[in-house]
């Protein structure tokens, strides 16, 4: 069961902020965030575990709302290098679970 991401696409100017959301209809154990540049493999950004937490590094952070089974990725003061497709991945339990991804959010940062 794939998580649902929104929005599908975002266009920003350098320095603007963006929020990408990821939601699930099932109880989540973990939420992963990855970024993919065109023609490359996805690259890990961060992982949040059940228990509700917030993580971040540099100007990219994320939150996990366990009650709502939602996660949000926050990109502040966007840079040109932030352009790419962002994927959230989810796992639903601690045993035999599998990592499934949403359809992605295409982020474009313009000068």
């Amino acid at each position: 069961q794939q998580p649902v991401q929104s929005p599908q696409a975002v266009i920003l100017r350098e320095g603007e902020d963006a929020v990408i959301n990821c939601s699930s209809s099932k109880a989540l154990y973990s939420v992963h965030w990855y970024r993919q540049k065109h023609g490359e493999a996805p690259v890990f950004l961060m992982i949040l575990l059940k228990g509700g937490e917030q993580k971040g590094h540099d100007k990219i952070s994320a939150s996990f709302n366990e009650k709502k089974q939602q996660s949000s990725l926050y990109l502040t003061a966007s840079q040109l290098s932030y352009s790419g497709t962002y994927f959230c991945g989810t796992e639903y339990s601690t045993s035999g679970s599998r990592l499934t991804f949403g359809e992605g959010t295409q982020l474009t940062v313009n000068p």
Partner: protein
């Protein structure tokens, strides 16, 4: 970066022929995944493995089979390739549930 490779990196094959893609890891990770990526569909899980000889289906498993006889290798087989299986295939590994996944470089498969 984690040691994960995929072979071949590019392949062109004809409809009806069998194709095997290989994912090899040197990290001794327990979980291995095969995804396909098509425009507008994100990363869709084909099959995954949670141990040697332990595999399970993903969301789009029809037409694909897998095998994992060693920790380090996870094979994806298209028994009789079809044009709808033209895609980019990514392998990923992770040590356990709740830990980050590492992706291989991808295999671009074209079925003519």
């Amino acid at each position: 970066d984690a040691g994960i490779t995929q072979s071949p990196r590019h392949k062109v094959t004809e409809t009806g022929t069998p194709v095997t893609l290989r994912c090899h890891q040197t990290e001794n990770h327990r979980y291995m995944y095969w995804y396909r990526q098509d425009p507008g569909h994100g990363l869709r899980l084909i099959h995954y493995s949670y141990g040697v000889k332990d595999t399970d289906k993903g969301e789009v498993s029809d037409g694909y089979s897998v095998s994992r006889s060693k920790t380090e290798d996870f094979l994806l087989t298209l028994e009789s390739a079809t044009s709808s299986q033209t895609s980019v295939y990514f392998c990923a590994i992770s040590g356990d549930i709740g830990t980050r996944a590492y992706f291989g470089p991808g295999t671009r498969l074209t079925v003519t």
